[in-house]
Assembly symmetry: C2
Homo-oligomer: 247 residues x 2
DNA sequence: GTTAAGGAAATTGTTGACAGTTTGCATAAA
DNA sequence: TTTATGCAAACTGTCAACAATTTCCTTAAC
């Protein structure tokens, strides 16, 4: 089974033909949201977006429909599309789901573990160990992403892969919104070792447990960090971002 | 801003305003797919759909974009939208995911179980018991759906609820395509009792295990049934549905 | 008989325009 | 000053038309 998706081999012809205007617009809006260029809660002005991207409103509207289904924006009839606002409750939801899917991926992979899988995973853990020891969050973070993505990919379950990556994107949103802190790198990587060990032993139940708990620990760290934050500035009431326009 | 408005007296106006043409079209196409009126693999003729529903192509295209993100249709640039074909591999994917999400829901609900939760769940199991004893699949099936949906709903995790219900819809598709058989009702309900028992004991790990296994058993029954089917008519090669038009 | 080429028809991609609704401002009344 | 009212601008919802691409049928060559 080929579980490694070709990164970007020959996007020459295929890329141009695969990318309709709508797809490009969708990708661009998604990028803007993930990059924080579109603040949560603001309304997307269809015409403004269309003019900026040099297209008509049709593709923009189609892209927004897709993004709404993906959960990045919210549609209100006759009002327009609004960038989804993410609350602490949303973070909890995403963490819980991510824990479940991460655990499920490990559980599914455990019985089909190959030597190559083990090699790759141990490679990631080794690299992360180095990053963690030098407290290099910059290099640790993408490795961490790739480690978990690799496990999910290796299951071969396309739906699981899609859902998981969607959650990871939402998770990125929390980072840009400052809801996530850098956790203890060494501690995190120790949990990675536990995951690999369970996979190596082909113990599906254990693999689920340690994987789900790994994400769950991240959730707990976030919640306690948020509580600390609230304690530091207790009377701070939430500011409601009003409607606004892009550009 | 405290608008002391009457709770939810007239959904008539709200309902109309909530439903844009696009939403109606999306719902209608989804219904046609789930009802089997649109066969897998066939192309959706935008103009034909638009004419049938008495709308222009714009809303149809927007609806299709949303349905593509939901996984019901597949978009091929310059070719059109195609109803997703579901294979045995798809069924396995959906089963595995559904097992994971079902397990996750039980795991999340376990620590927050209330007396009312227990009451409702035991009620469902009791009703299913009656249906199972009289081999009344017709009444058992919706009860079974509601039992599981209730557990998922009770978690309060909106994303989990949405994903789970999406999978259930896909699962319905397999039923209409004959990939799923009526399993042993009594056996299935016995597993329901195990789930409720684990939830009652607030044992999250056990709740996950029995819930996930419950769905996993369904998967195994489907696979073995499929194998039997293949054995019965061995040389039957899969017919490739060609492109076609609706109506 | 099979394969290749050409062109017409059908279909999708995209655009601009119009209708209905919402928003915001200005004016007026209390 | 505050609150209501009405009008104008802006925006979304929808549609019909045009452009680009694909599909299909006909014709011709081997």
């Amino acid at each position: 089974m080929d579980d490694t998706e070709a990164p970007s081999a020959l996007p020459t012809i295929a890329a141009l033909r695969e990318h309709s205007l709508t797809a490009v617009v969708q990708h661009e809006i998604e990028r803007m949201i993930l990059a924080g260029e579109l603040a949560p809660g603001v309304r997307l002005n269809e015409k403004a977006v269309a003019d900026t991207l040099k297209v008509s409103r049709g593709p923009v509207r189609e892209a927004c429909r897709a993004l709404a289904e993906l959960g990045f924006v919210h549609l209100i009839p006759n009002r327009g599309v609004f960038i989804k606002k993410l609350t602490k409750e949303d973070a909890v939801e995403v963490y819980d789901l991510r824990a479940g899917l991460t655990g499920l991926a490990s559980q599914l992979l455990a019985p089909m573990m190959t030597a190559e899988h083990l090699d790759r995973l141990e490679g990631f853990v080794g690299e992360m160990e180095q990053s963690a020891e030098s407290a290099d969050f910059q290099s640790f973070y993408p490795l961490n992403l790739e480690f978990h993505d690799y496990i999910v990919r290796a299951t071969g379950n396309a739906r699981l892969i899609k859902l998981y990556r969607g959650l990871v994107k939402e998770f990125h949103l929390f980072r840009t919104h400052g809801l996530v802190q850098r956790s203890s790198l060494l501690e995190s990587n120790h949990e990675h070792r536990d995951i690999v060990a369970a996979l190596k032993a082909k113990d599906a139940s254990l693999a689920y447990l340690v994987s789900a708990r790994h994400v769950g620990n991240g959730k707990e760290r976030m919640l306690s960090a948020l509580d600390d934050l609230a304690e530091a500035s207790p009377a701070r009431h939430r500011r409601e971002p009003e409607r606004g326009r892009i550009e």
